[in-house]
C-alpha cells in the first residue's frame, strides 16, 4: 500500500511544469486566439521534446510505455498553465485507444505504425467520442478515431469535413466532424468496439479531471495573489475574513479532489473494470472544485475579474468547458447513483483499496 508518487514522477512533473510556466505566457495564449490554427508550433515541438507524445506509447512502438499514474501530474500541470494545445487529450485519449487497439490485436500493423509516428511527433491522431458534441482541434489532426454505433473507425484527414464552432473559451477550437463510415476505415466492432469506447470515455474524463485540478489551483493562486495587492478601505482585500473564506472553501475542495483523481488514474490502468466509478467520482470532484474556484476567484477579483484584459478568464472559461466535456456532473453522478442502487455493490472501507477493490467487478460490465 503506497499512495504516493515516486521521486521520478514528481521530478518529471516539475520539469514539464516549469517549462509550461515559462513558455505558456498569457500573452502567448492571447496570440493563439488571433491565429488561424489556434496552436503554437514551437510549443508543440517543446512538448514533443519533453516526451509528452511518447510517454504513454508502448515501448514496442518507440514510446516510453509509462502509465496514467505517470501522466496524471503532467495533465494537472497542463491545466495549471491553461495550455491551449490538446496534448493531454491526444496522448491519453487517442494514444490510449490506439494502444488498446494494439493490445487487442486489431489492425496491428497500421496501428503500430501510427503509434510510432505519434511517439516521434510526426503524426497527430485525435479522437472524438460520442459523449462530446464537438471535438477540440480535430482539424489539426492527421487521423481521427471516430465512433459509429459500437464500431470504431480510423479515418484520415482527407476523408473528414470540419465545421468550426466558437467556444466561450477562445483557446478552444471546436469542430463538428462529418464523415462517412466504411468497412475500410473500421478498426473495431461489436462488443470489442463498445468496450474500447467505454475505456475511451473513462480516459477522457480522467484527463479532463486532472486538468480541472490544475485549473482550480491556478485560479485560487491568482486570486490569492490579487487579494494581497489590491487595497480597499486602506488595507489589502485579502485581510478580510470573507475573502479568506472564499479561498479556503476552494482549497478544501481541491485538497479532497486530488487523491480521488490520483486513484482514478491508478484504477484506469490497473483495474479498468472498476474505472467507471473511480473516474466518475474524479470528474465530479475536480469539476466541482474548478467551478467553485472559478466563481470565487472571479468574486475576489471584483470588477477586474469581469474583464477581458484580466487574465483570469483564460482559466475560468476553460474550467466551464472542461467541467461539461467528457460527461457533465449529471452524467457522472448518475453512473455512481446507478451503481449505489445495485444490491450487490460492495461499498465501504474494505473495498476502497487493495485486492478487493481491484478484483471485484460487481456490476462493472452492466
Amino acid at each position: 500500500m503506497d499512495f504516493t508518487f515516486t521521486d521520478d514522477q514528481l521530478a518529471f512533473r516539475d520539469s514539464v511544469g516549469s517549462m509550461l510556466e515559462n513558455e505558456v505566457t498569457t500573452a502567448s495564449i492571447r496570440e493563439r486566439w488571433t491565429g488561424d490554427s489556434g496552436e503554437n508550433g514551437d510549443m508543440l515541438n517543446m512538448l514533443n521534446e519533453m516526451g509528452m507524445n511518447s510517454l504513454l506509447v508502448p515501448e514496442s512502438c518507440g514510446g516510453l510505455g509509462m502509465d496514467l499514474v505517470d501522466f496524471v501530474l503532467l495533465a494537472d500541470a497542463c491545466g495549471k498553465a491553461a495550455l491551449p494545445e490538446s496534448i493531454v487529450e491526444d496522448a491519453v485519449v487517442a494514444g490510449g485507444l490506439l494502444s488498446d487497439l494494439l493490445a487487442s490485436g486489431q489492425h496491428t500493423d497500421q496501428v503500430q505504425e501510427l503509434l510510432g509516428g505519434v511517439a516521434a511527433g510526426d503524426i497527430r491522431v485525435g479522437c472524438a467520442h460520442i459523449i462530446n458534441p464537438y471535438s477540440n482541434f480535430a482539424h489539426r489532426k492527421d487521423w481521427m478515431l471516430l465512433a459509429n454505433g459500437n464500431d470504431v473507425h480510423l479515418v484520415p484527414k482527407s476523408d473528414l469535413k470540419f465545421t468550426a464552432l466558437k467556444s466561450v473559451d477562445p483557446s478552444r477550437r471546436l469542430q463538428k466532424v462529418d464523415w462517412a463510415p466504411s468497412r475500410k476505415t473500421r478498426v473495431a466492432e461489436g462488443e470489442v468496439g463498445a468496450g474500447l469506447q467505454r475505456a475511451t470515455l473513462n480516459r477522457g474524463a480522467l484527463a479532463a479531471a486532472a486538468q480541472l485540478l490544475g485549473l482550480a489551483q491556478a485560479m485560487v493562486q491568482q486570486a490569492v495573489d490579487y487579494s494581497a495587492t489590491r487595497e480597499q478601505f486602506g488595507k489589502a482585500i485579502g485581510t478580510n475574513q470573507a475573502v479568506k473564506h472564499l479561498m479556503a472553501d476552494c482549497a478544501v475542495q481541491i485538497e479532497f479532489a486530488k487523491p480521488v483523481v490520483y486513484r482514478a488514474a491508478y484504477t484506469v490502468g490497473v483495474a479498468p473494470q472498476r474505472a467507471d466509478w473511480a473516474v466518475s467520482h474524479a470528474k465530479t470532484a475536480a469539476g466541482s472544485a474548478a467551478e467553485l474556484s472559478a466563481r470565487n476567484a472571479t468574486q475576489v477579483h471584483g470588477a477586474m475579474g469581469y474583464t477581458w484584459e484580466c487574465d483570469l478568464h483564460i482559466w475560468v472559461k476553460r474550467a466551464w468547458a472542461l467541467a461539461k466535456e467528457w460527461g457533465d456532473a449529471g452524467f457522472h453522478k448518475n453512473r455512481i447513483h446507478e451503481w449505489l442502487l445495485q444490491p450487490n455493490a460492495l461499498l465501504g472501507p474494505e473495498f476502497t483499496f487493495g485486492k478487493r477493490y481491484i478484483d471485484h467487478s460487481d456490476s462493472a460490465a452492466a
Binding site: 464552432l165 466561450v168 470573507a242 472571479t298 468574486q299 477581458w308 478568464h313 457533465d328 449529471g330
Partner: protein, 388 residues
C-alpha cells in the same frame, strides 16, 4: 391585504401591452455595447419617450405618467413579457433622473431632464476609481474650482455605457484638503469635453460594457454642479440607495428567465441525467416568484406612505445569486453544448441567450457593491451587529 389589481391597474396593463405590441422592434437589436447597437437602442429610447413610456413613474412634465410603484411593476412585467430591448438609458432614468428631480435647480432640470428622457443624451456612471471600488469614499479624482468652472484631473473606471454615452455623472474631490467622504461634489461632465479620454474596457464577452475615463484639465461649468459644493456624498448616497433598492433589477426579468428555464427543462429533462436538476429548477422558480412577492410587498408599503427599510439590502444578494443559479441550471440542461456561442451553432434556438445571460450574471455579485459588502451592511445596519 388585497392582491387583486384595481380596474385602472388592469386597464393600465392592457394599455402597456397594446403599445408594446405595436412598437417593440421585431428584430432583436444589436448589443448596446457596440456602436451600431447603441444607436439602435437610443432610437428605441426615443420611441419610448415619444409615447411617454420612457419612465412611467416620472411626473408628466418630464415625459412620465406619474405612475405609482405598482404601476411601474406592471409596466416592467409587460416590458419583459414583450421581449423589449434592454434600457441603454438606465443610468439616466433610474439613477440620475430622480436625483436631479430632488437636488437639481430649475435651470438644471430644464437643461438635462428632457434631453435625458428623450434619449437625446445618454448618461454614463462615473463613480469608481482604480482604488475606490467598494470603498467609494477613497475617491481622488479632483475638480478644482477656477472662476465659474471646475477643472477636473484624474481617472474614473468601471463607467457603464461610457464608451458611447454623451454625459457622465459622478463624484469628484472639490476640497483638496479633505479626506474620505468629505469634500466631494456631484458633477455632470460632457464626455466630448476637451481633455476627456475614454478607454473602453472589454467584458467577459469581449464587448466594451464599461470604460475608464481619463480627465486631463477638463473644464466644466459650475452650472453642472448638482447640489452644494462638497455635498456630493449625501447626494450620491441617495442615488446609490435607488440603485441598490427597489428598481435596480425588476422582478419580471427573473420571472421570465425562470419561465424560460422551466420550458427548457420540460423539453430536455428526459435527455439529461443530472440528479439535482429538478431541485434546481424548482428552486429557481420559487425564488423568482419570491423576489416578485417581496418587491410588491415593498412597493405596497411605499405606496401606502411607508419607507424602505434596511431589509432592502437583502435584495441585491438575492437576485444576483438567483440570476447565476437560473443560468447555471440552464447550462446544466444544455450539457456539453453550453460552451458554444450560439451564433455558430445549428441548434441556435435551443441554446438561446443562456450563455450570454450566464456571462452577464457573473457580474451580479460584484457590481453596485459586492455581495460581501452587502452582507456587512445587512449584519451591521439591519441586524445591528458591531462594526469593530
Amino acid at each position: 391585504m388585497d392582491l387583486l389589481y384595481t380596474p385602472s391597474q388592469t386597464q393600465f396593463r392592457e394599455e402597456v401591452r397594446a403599445w408594446l405590441a405595436a412598437h417593440v422592434p421585431a428584430k432583436k437589436l444589436a448589443s448596446f455595447d457596440t456602436a451600431e447597437g447603441f444607436e439602435q437602442h437610443r432610437q428605441w429610447e426615443k420611441t419610448l419617450a415619444a409615447g411617454n413610456w420612457g419612465m412611467v413613474t416620472w411626473p408628466k412634465e418630464y415625459g412620465g405618467r406619474a405612475c405609482d410603484l405598482i404601476e411601474w411593476l406592471i409596466f416592467e412585467e409587460e416590458y419583459y413579457r414583450a421581449g423589449a430591448p434592454l434600457r441603454v438609458n438606465q443610468n439616466g432614468i433610474f439613477l440620475l433622473g430622480p436625483t436631479l428631480m430632488e437636488y437639481g435647480t430649475e435651470a438644471q432640470k430644464e437643461r438635462f431632464i428632457s434631453a435625458m428622457a428623450s434619449g437625446e443624451e445618454i448618461w454614463a456612471q462615473a463613480w469608481s476609481e482604480p482604488n475606490a471600488g467598494s470603498d467609494m469614499a477613497a475617491i481622488r479624482c479632483r475638480a478644482d474650482r477656477d472662476g465659474d468652472d471646475y477643472v477636473i484631473n484624474g481617472q474614473k473606471i468601471w463607467s457603464t455605457r461610457a464608451v458611447f454615452a454623451d454625459y457622465a455623472f459622478g463624484l469628484f474631490r472639490t476640497d483638496p484638503e479633505s479626506s474620505r467622504h468629505h469634500g466631494l461634489s456631484f458633477i455632470l461632465v460632457p464626455l466630448d469635453s476637451p481633455g476627456v479620454t475614454v478607454r473602453p474596457i472589454e467584458q467577459l464577452n469581449g464587448l466594451p460594457g464599461f470604460a475608464e475615463i481619463f480627465f486631463d484639465d477638463v473644464r466644466v461649468s459650475d452650472f453642472n454642479l448638482l447640489g452644494g459644493e462638497n455635498q456630493g456624498w449625501q447626494i450620491a448616497m441617495s442615488t446609490a440607495g435607488f440603485e441598490r433598492g427597489l428598481m435596480l433589477r425588476s422582478p419580471a426579468r427573473f420571472q421570465q428567465a425562470s419561465r424560460r428555464l422551466v420550458e427548457l427543462y420540460r423539453k430536455r429533462r428526459n435527455d439529461i441525467l443530472d440528479l439535482s436538476i429538478e431541485d434546481s429548477v424548482v428552486r429557481c422558480y420559487m425564488d423568482a416568484e419570491a423576489y416578485a412577492l417581496s418587491t410588491y410587498q415593498t412597493a405596497s408599503r411605499l405606496v401606502a406612505g411607508g419607507h424602505i427599510g434596511a431589509e432592502s439590502s437583502c435584495n441585491k444578494i438575492f437576485w444576483s445569486e438567483l440570476d447565476i443559479r437560473i443560468h447555471e441550471t440552464a447550462l446544466s440542461l444544455l450539457g456539453a453544448r453550453a460552451e458554444i456561442e450560439p451564433e455558430t451553432a445549428e441548434d441556435h434556438a435551443e441554446l438561446g441567450t443562456w450563455l450570454d445571460g450566464f456571462l452577464f450574471s457573473q457580474s451580479g455579485p460584484i457590481y453596485a457593491g459586492t455581495n460581501e459588502i452587502q452582507r456587512n451592511i445587512i449584519a451591521e445596519r439591519m441586524l445591528g451587529m458591531p462594526r469593530k
